[in-house]
Assembly symmetry: C2
């Protein structure tokens, strides 16, 4: 389910966050689905529960999961996500990447076609 790279210089809790986000976004984890408990996942990865807790805490702050005391942590349904702030962040990120793509002279068409391909692949819910 999860793979940690101990050689990587990025913190473990960041790696956990990223992988959880990827699974949510890809649809591998569905709305309101229960994700492993802090202690469970810690045991699976043989790392400290506090590290998982830190990852979950930030995922919750960013709106990707929600936690219910004594019950568990669950995937936030897509429609419940507070989108506006996140969309702004994503667009800023997008701008930065595209400006550098322009700098290294990747043609506009190539970028646009790539994006359309991504939307075609799994964009069946947002293809307006």
């Amino acid at each position: 389910m999860f793979q940690l790279n101990l050689k990587d210089h990025s913190p473990l809790y960041q790696q956990i966050k990223e992988q959880m986000k990827t699974m949510i976004i890809s649809g591998a984890l569905k709305a309101d689905e229960k994700i492993p408990s802090v202690r469970e996942l810690a045991q699976m990865l043989t790392i400290n529960p506090n590290t998982i807790q830190k990852a979950y805490k930030e995922l919750e702050q960013e709106g990707f999961i929600y936690s219910i005391r004594a019950k568990g942590s669950f995937v936030t349904p897509r429609d419940n996500i507070l989108k506006e702030v996140r969309i702004n962040e994503l667009m800023t990120n997008l701008e930065k990447t595209v400006r550098e793509l322009i700098y290294v002279q990747v043609p506009c068409q190539q970028v646009v076609l790539y994006i359309k391909k991504l939307y075609a692949e799994e964009g069946s819910t947002a293809d307006d």
Copy 2:
């Protein structure tokens, strides 16, 4: 020229790297232009020269600047940059951002139009 955010949790050398890259990509710094020396910039920002050195070292490894011993550090001309690896990184980054944009249901058209706008703004050298 540079602004550091001491409150930010991102390392100073990262902030310097990011700002230098932004200035290069935006064209504020031109090809073969001399950038401030390690000691100069350290004095300007009232931080340690070693921190600047670390930023410059990575910028050089990533191909954005080149350094000549005893002369200074300079902006790598765009055409001399080893692009392939960097383009791969940028496309991976782009994919990740776009997949999340899809997840939060931003329509394809909006993304594409935004990118075309960016290319139109300053893409006069890569508008094929």
